[in-house]
């Protein structure tokens, strides 16, 4: 029997992003009503169309009911007990990074996302979001030379209002679901990307979301528009400190791909997951959706979900343009008392559209991991195809895995293929690897990364290596 305290230490150690930055913040009072929304909009100096957008969304949200169909159990969220706007106090106008509070730069340094000119990552442009606001975006000038717009969404509202007005809410309408409506009403910041016609974005773009306050929610909004024949690869990372309360995170991500455009969206989600007793952790209710509007357009989601106490997330594709392609590659790992209900929706509307779903769920400890997916073939989706593969791996005998595939076809001339499997890491497999000199923990992580290989192959290089390490860390002390 392994010493119980040792196991606890190891599990605690696994979350190295649990620190809090001690910084003066500007917070508004708790609670949600029209005045709060007006206040947020006013603080951000928004044009009227956006305030109207928010207020309409809020009215809809008030009439909606929190969804309860997911295989998740959690304490009811008190939406009046949340702070909807929290920002580190800074000078009014920041013209360069030198004016950013060093504490903030230090925070992102510690997270491995250096922002300063000397240290910034060489081949990735980063938008760093801290609680409700974007702190800095690197490589803006270089990107601007190619006509690429990469900035915080608040800035885009000011400088590219036409694009925001044209596209915001066109993929995920405010009335889409409870959490999307909430986000539409109160979203504070996030990233905006615009790739002009014919441009292949010269570097990967990345947003890093950091929650710092314990009592405020994070409601970020991301919008990516890829014009005809353009392409972009976008990465998203998330961490939060360890608090013993739950923090709500309800984001909306919208992607739009026009003719022959392609968007690759990769996420490594490592929000604080709560402790081994299930105390604390992020409630992660996210709506991510891409619209393949153009012919032969392509949207590819890849995600590695390892954090959060609760994950409710279904990155989806609306395949409108003929011969458009949607992809979803997912690894979701749950440990201790984490719960995840995640998957995708592939809605085939245009003819000869194709989608691929590869989902790998790993459940350890007492966790619960569900795949939920919808594949729909509309009446006009002739000659369309879907391939889905959903595999679950169980570690230990207390974890559970579910698969809920929904298939709806209104088009007889289309193909849907679904494969599913469940496996367990057995004592015999571990003994076999150990008897070849391979340490116990390494044996587990070899098997887990083997299980996830199909998905890791889809991630950008640095992300894949990081994901591999992250899974190994998350699983330390979970077996035995």
């Amino acid at each position: 029997m392994v010493n119980e305290n040792l196991v606890k230490d190891v599990v605690k150690e696994t979350y190295k992003y649990g620190f809090v930055t001690d910084i003066e913040t500007e917070k508004i009072e708790k609670g949600l009503n029209e005045d709060i929304i007006k206040l947020i909009s006013q603080k951000k100096e928004e044009p009227k169309f956006l305030l109207d957008f928010r207020l309409k969304a809020f009215k809809k949200w008030q009439k909606m009911k929190e969804p309860d169909w997911a295989a998740l159990r959690y304490k009811k969220i008190d939406y009046q007990d949340i702070i909807y706007y929290s920002a580190p106090k800074q000078k009014e106008k920041i013209s360069s990074l030198d004016e950013v509070d060093p504490k903030l730069l230090e925070t992102f340094d510690k997270l491995g996302i250096p922002l300063t000119e000397q240290k910034k990552l060489t081949n990735v442009a980063v938008d760093a979001v801290f609680d409700s606001v974007s702190i800095a975006t690197t490589f803006r000038e270089e990107l601007a030379e190619h006509g690429v717009i990469f900035c915080s969404i608040s800035e885009a509202v000011k400088n590219h209002a036409d694009l925001i007005e044209k596209y915001l809410g066109t993929v995920v309408p405010a009335s889409d679901n409870y959490f999307a409506a909430l986000n539409s009403a109160v979203f504070s910041d996030g990233s905006f990307v615009y790739i002009p016609k014919g441009v292949t974005c010269p570097m990967d773009l990345s947003s890093y979301f950091r929650i710092n306050s314990g009592d405020s929610g994070q409601f970020e909004r991301t919008l990516i528009v890829a014009e005809e024949s353009s392409s972009v690869s976008y990465l998203e990372g998330c961490t939060a400190p360890m608090f013993d309360t739950n923090t709500l995170h309800a984001a909306v991500v919208e992607l739009i791909a026009l003719d022959d455009a392609s968007i690759k969206y990769s996420t490594v989600q490592n929000w604080y997951a709560g402790d081994e007793e299930g105390i604390g952790g992020i409630f992660n209710f996210v709506t991510k959706r891409g619209k393949c509007l153009g012919k032969r357009s392509k949207i590819s989601w890849s995600q590695v979900e390892t954090g959060s106490a609760i994950t409710w997330k279904y990155p989806s594709c609306l395949l409108l343009g003929e011969e458009s392609v949607g992809e979803f590659y997912s690894v979701a790992l749950t440990n201790n008392l984490q719960q995840a209900d995640t998957g995708t929706k592939m809605i085939h509307i245009g003819p000869r559209t194709k989608s691929t779903i590869v989902s790998k769920g790993i459940s350890a400890g007492n966790s619960k991991n569900s795949y939920r997916g919808l594949v729909k073939m509309g009446t006009k989706a002739t000659g369309s195809r879907n391939y889905s593969q959903c595999d679950s791996m169980l570690i230990g005998d207390q974890a559970s895995a579910n698969t809920f595939p929904y298939i709806k076809s209104q088009q007889p001339n289309s193909e849907i293929e679904h494969e599913a499997s469940t496996c367990r890491i057995s004592e015999d497999q571990l003994f076999y690897l150990q008897s070849r000199g391979i340490e116990f923990e390494e044996a587990v992580s070899m098997m887990v990364s083997g299980f996830c290989r199909d998905v890791f192959n889809q991630l950008p290089m640095e992300f894949a290596a990081e994901a591999d390490k992250l899974l190994a860390l998350k699983l330390e002390g979970s077996v035995g």
């Binding site: 076999y432 150990q434 070849r436 391979i438």
Partner: protein, 261 residues
């Protein structure tokens, strides 16, 4: 019984070993000593404890040692982890090699080999150097390189799995190899390949324990000693002709030994 002069220290000493699983006694006082260069065969009916003995020497966590000691190169290894035993030079060839989906055979072999090399203070091999080494060793078991890119044992035929075990033995260069029914499920050709592989890998410094039901492996690899196990004990030890006698007379003949003891 004629005794060979023992000039060096034993590799493995199993001393009066008793072990159980789920409180069910499986081994009831087994003693066995293996010196460098020796080949021992252990025979016996199914369920007599042969495989259990091999697993316990390799450190399988399902069994509890209730009495006795296992010594490797003079050191007690009762409480060592399986990986530590492997790294220090104990090899178990599995009767039923385990399938590990998703883990490439090449990577598995490399990590395993490097764990042993690290223990021996040898330089760990990168992918390129390791490929050179493994190509050489593939010759020994007449395996095709295509084996390397597949998942560990997944979809391998019975013979391929056993050859993969011998390939691992060739890479790990153990001090002692316990081969649990390595001959079962092999056709004549595969048996010859496996047997010649074992002979190539072993030398005057290594010890081998062959667990088998059949004389045909022992025709290929002549043991110095043959032990007959029954109900968790070694009930008779002889030289290679004991195996022949056993084949002729069957295990019923050995039932008398139990009465004698």
């Amino acid at each position: 019984m004629q005794s060979i002069m023992k000039e060096s220290d034993p590799i493995l000493e199993v001393e009066n070993l008793s072990a159980s699983t789920d409180n069910l006694p499986i081994l009831k006082g087994v003693s066995l000593t293996v010196y460098p260069g020796e080949i021992h065969a252990i025979m016996g009916r199914n369920g007599c404890g042969k495989s259990t003995l091999s697993k316990i020497i390799a450190g399988h966590p399902s069994y509890n040692i209730t009495n006795g000691d296992i010594k490797f190169l003079g050191e007690n290894i009762n409480s060592l982890e399986p990986e530590e035993r492997s790294q220090s030079g104990i090899f178990l060839g599995f009767q039923y090699p385990i399938e590990i989906p998703g883990v490439s055979n090449l990577e598995f072999l490399r990590v395993s080999t490097n764990a042993r090399r690290k223990f021996l203070n040898k330089e760990e091999l990168d992918t390129f150097d390791f490929e050179e080494l493994v190509k050489e060793k593939l010759e020994i078991v007449k395996m095709d390189q295509a084996f390397l890119s597949r998942s560990v044992n997944q979809g391998f035929s019975g013979g391929e799995k056993k050859r993969n075990e011998i390939l691992q033995m060739a890479l790990l260069e153990p001090k002692i190899a316990i081969l649990d029914e390595t001959d079962s499920g092999l056709d004549i050709d595969a048996l010859r390949i496996v047997a010649s592989g074992i002979k190539k890998i072993s030398n005057a410094q290594t010890g081998i324990i062959l667990i088998t039901h059949y004389q045909r492996l022992l025709d290929e690899i002549k043991p110095n000693y043959v032990h007959v196990m029954s109900d968790g004990q070694i009930i008779k030890t002889g030289e290679s002709d004991l195996a022949l006698e056993l084949e002729e007379k069957g295990y019923e003949w050995t039932d008398n030994f139990i009465k004698e003891t």
